[in-house]
Amino acid sequence: MSAVVDKAGPMLEALDERLTLANYVKRNLRKVFPDHWTFMLGEVALYSFIILLLSGIYLSLFFKPSMTEVVYNGSYAPLKGLSMSEAYASTLDISFDIRGGLLLRQIHHWAAMLFVASMSIHVMRVFFTGAFRKPREINWSIGVGLLTMGFVEGFAGYSLPDDLLSGTGLRIAEGIMLSVPVVGTYIQFFVFGGEFPGDIFISRLYGVHILLLPGIILLLITAHLMIVWYQKHTQYPGKGRTNDNVVGYPVLPVYAAKAGGFFFVVFGITVLMAGFVTINPIWAYGPYTPDQITAGSQPDWYMGWLEGALRIMPNWETTAWGHTISWNVFIPGGLVMGLVLTAMAIYPMIEAKVTRGYKDQDHDLLDRPRNAPVRTGLGVMSLTFYILLWIGGGNDIIAKFFDLSINQITWTLRFAIFIVPPLAFVATKRACLGLQRKDRDKLLHGRETGTIIRLPDGEFTEVHAPLSEEEKAVILSKTDHIPLEAPAETDANGVALSKRKLKAARRTAHLSRWFYDDNIPKPTPEELAAAEAHILHGYEEGHLVTEHRDSLEPEGGVLHDPNAEPAEPSK
């Protein structure tokens, strides 16, 4: 026993006498966390936030958030003697005159990229597996909040150094503020303390970037994690994994060691990136001045979709009764992001409403994406939308690279943004149903072994093997949803429903059918038992299960034709 472990006992005792700790420790120290690589995405987000806090505190020791013009006299020769803001000059100092400063700047920026990236993929994982369902809706909303804050905080961060690129970004932000109907001009004047760029914006942004938003993000992350801890993690279906248990590793020691180790791995990789790969070389852009610009300027990747929206929007503007509305700026700059995030925030409510029995159950076992074809389709549709906008944001780069004209790309995208996402929905939904059909086939016919043998009558067939228990458990985890039905005109007590309620309920039922009507049901227990006996028989005899109907007719079993329309789900 090492001294550290020996001391733990007396220490716990002392603490317990003051804080009643034992009960808490007893309940939590060996809490079980399921393990899967997709569960690390949220962890990466958390770790990169911690890295951001640490590196950010370091940067704030040297950064001067001031727009006062100074003459640069540091050691970066090409900019010597130029007049620039103190913010930019101090960022140059961090990069060239403070040992390790450049490293920390680059750690901070790489961690910011990683923070938003891992959050985005984490959100996708949660969506496609249905992890947002009851009881985890609160955490879904918190997550949407975190993602929003991440965008804004990142934008605020790379606007601070006041270089030519970030200043251009702020100029665009100013234009977007101006485009807000009615109050836009006032928003702009209040935010910038007058006309653009003014002399106070960077110091205002600084407070927002290092105090306000990190504070909010920290609060949200804390709540998020406490809720995860309390509700216990979801898990993927599998042998021994049900809706009522958690299978995984205890926090002490395995999970703690793995997660703690993983923090250092993420930290290490971020630092190595910062050492080897330049990011945001502000010295190459020069100080901000509103009359200059670098061609091909690009924002950080997570702003790319908004940039794309701004680029592909047609130039609509309305002027009437002495006022102007810039649809060409307000829709892509303000509405698109707002609508997308709102849609994300309310999606769980929609699914809750159209799903029978949603409220009566906790959903702790994750869905396989194929088993929720409409949800998966909607997810892929949104991603397609996002990616198309993102492509729009790089239209000049793409044009250059593939030698296309920007006009062609832009016009193609203007149509594609309405046509391609719905197609993606349909294709995804079909693919999901195809996979469901395949799952059903596997249960009824066994797994294809790849071994082809020849029957006495000369026919070739493939040997099918029984599924492993693991495979069976995974496939059988599927829920066969039954759509809600439109209500009768009177309720159970014979009281007529109001017209409005009736209409609403019918609409809900309609939506529910849209969600769940297409479904390839799991086989019935009888079907399954019969099929299994048959598969096993065929497999063991060295004999085979053929795709032939006549050989598949089991005693008392149901004939299953893989190409037939699915039977009505049994109710």
Binding site: V32, T68, F96, R99, L103, Q106, T168, I172, L178, V183, G184, T185, Q188, F189, F190, E195, P197, K239, G240, D244, N245, V246, V247, Y249, P253, V254, G260, G261, F262, F264, V265, F267, G268, G275, T289, P290, D291, I293, A295, S297, L310, R311, N315, H323, T324, N328, V329, K353, D362, E469, E470, L476, T479, D480, I482, L484, P487, A488, P569, K571
Partner: protein, 351 residues
């Protein structure tokens, strides 16, 4: 979404059952297969050494970091083929510090994977909802408290409190008033006045028509701008007043935004336009001489300078405002008048 709606749609169906009964009991976890390190003491010893080596390497890297920090001058650069000069200090510090962290991580994960007890365990979930009695008790407590407060009965107190509370945030908004001045007419005005010289950016030299060849384009600003900028201590004037001077062969000019034949807005084919994009305000920079198109690098709005700077492509809705020019007594290019409209992005108050 109200509960009743949901219930209506849900319960009038033929059945409230959703999920098929789990007709095949989910079997137990597979038995935990022994790892090599569980059965072979030699393998365990090897793993132990591996882990310790990782931690040792981390310690070494930390020491190396300190040495590099002190020893490597900050202005030393390594010429790396194809990548240019790299800061030696940044490279060394990143490498050592990164490895110091990375090896702790790898060591810990190896330890967990190879040496700690390796089996998955099962824990039951507990229902999140409290038992009904607890809920009832909680509600009772709440009602008791609410009752004692008299919130429900004392209408006047309740309403006046609500009024006070709803007014209370107002100061928090009012106090933001001095964040900035009101816009007044500042978005409509620029420094341009009749007779003001156009000077070059950045040399600040006045321009003669002969300085600009046909097909040429230069950036300019009002001659007072540097002084104003100095005095204001901001870049505000620069963000609004910068212009471009472009010279076309007079026969190539299809139209201009104003002027008469006796007093055209151009001067011998030299025209002056605002440099601030009417989309969201980037400075416009890319000129294609052959087509007379001016392209904004931000979102590719394209303006046809030969045709009143009208928008021919992209998201900008308005043409670039034209500044009428002529020459003064000394032969330098000057503004005839101020801009006849606001420059830069559109805004609500703009007619």
């Amino acid at each position: 979404m109200s509960d009743t709606d949901n219930a209506i749609a849900g319960e009038t169906g033929s059945s409230t059952q959703v999920v098929k009964p789990p007709f095949v009991a989910n079997p137990d976890l597979p038995p935990h297969g022994a790892r090599r390190t569980d059965v072979d003491p030699k393998a365990a010893k090897r793993a132990e050494h591996q882990v310790a080596t990782c931690f040792g390497l981390s310690a070494l890297a930390t020491v190396a970091f300190c040495i590099c920090y002190v020893q490597i001058p900050i202005d030393a650069y390594l010429p790396i083929p194809f990548f240019g000069a790299w800061s030696a200090s940044n490279l060394a510090l990143g490498l050592t510090f990164g490895l110091a962290a990375f090896f702790i991580g790898v060591g810990a994960i190896q330890w967990a994977k190879k040496l700690m007890f390796g089996g998955e365990v099962t824990q039951m979930r507990h229902p999140l909802a409290s038992p009904p009695e607890a809920r009832e008790e909680a509600l009772e407590q709440f009602w008791a408290g609410a009752d004692e407060s008299g919130f429900a009965q004392r209408k006047i107190v309740r309403r006046s409190l609500l009024m006070a509370m709803s007014l209370f945030p107002i100061p928090l908004i009012v106090i933001l008033r001095d964040l900035g001045p009101l816009p007044s007419d500042s978005l409509y005005t620029t420094l341009w006045r009749p007779g003001m010289r156009v000077v070059l950016d950045p040399t600040e030299a006045p321009v003669r028509p002969s300085d600009i060849p046909v097909g040429g384009i230069v950036s300019g600003m009002p001659s007072v701008l540097p002084a104003v900028q100095e005095e204001q201590g901001t870049l505000n004037a620069r963000a609004k007043d910068v212009v471009i001077l472009v010279r076309l062969a007079p026969e190539d000019i299809k139209s201009q935004q104003g002027g008469t034949s006796s007093q055209p807005w151009d001067y011998q084919g030299i025209m002056c336009f605002s440099k601030i994009c009417t989309h969201v305000g980037c400075p416009i920079a890319l000129y294609e001489q052959r087509t007379h198109h001016l392209l904004c690098p931000c979102h590719q709005s394209t303006f046809d300078l030969a045709d009143s700077a009208n928008v021919v492509f992209g998201p900008a809705a308005r043409r670039l405002p034209q500044l009428p020019i002529t020459v003064d007594a000394e032969g330098f290019i000057v503004a005839q008048t101020a801009f006849d409209q606001p420059v830069g992005p559109s805004f609500w108050e703009r007619a």
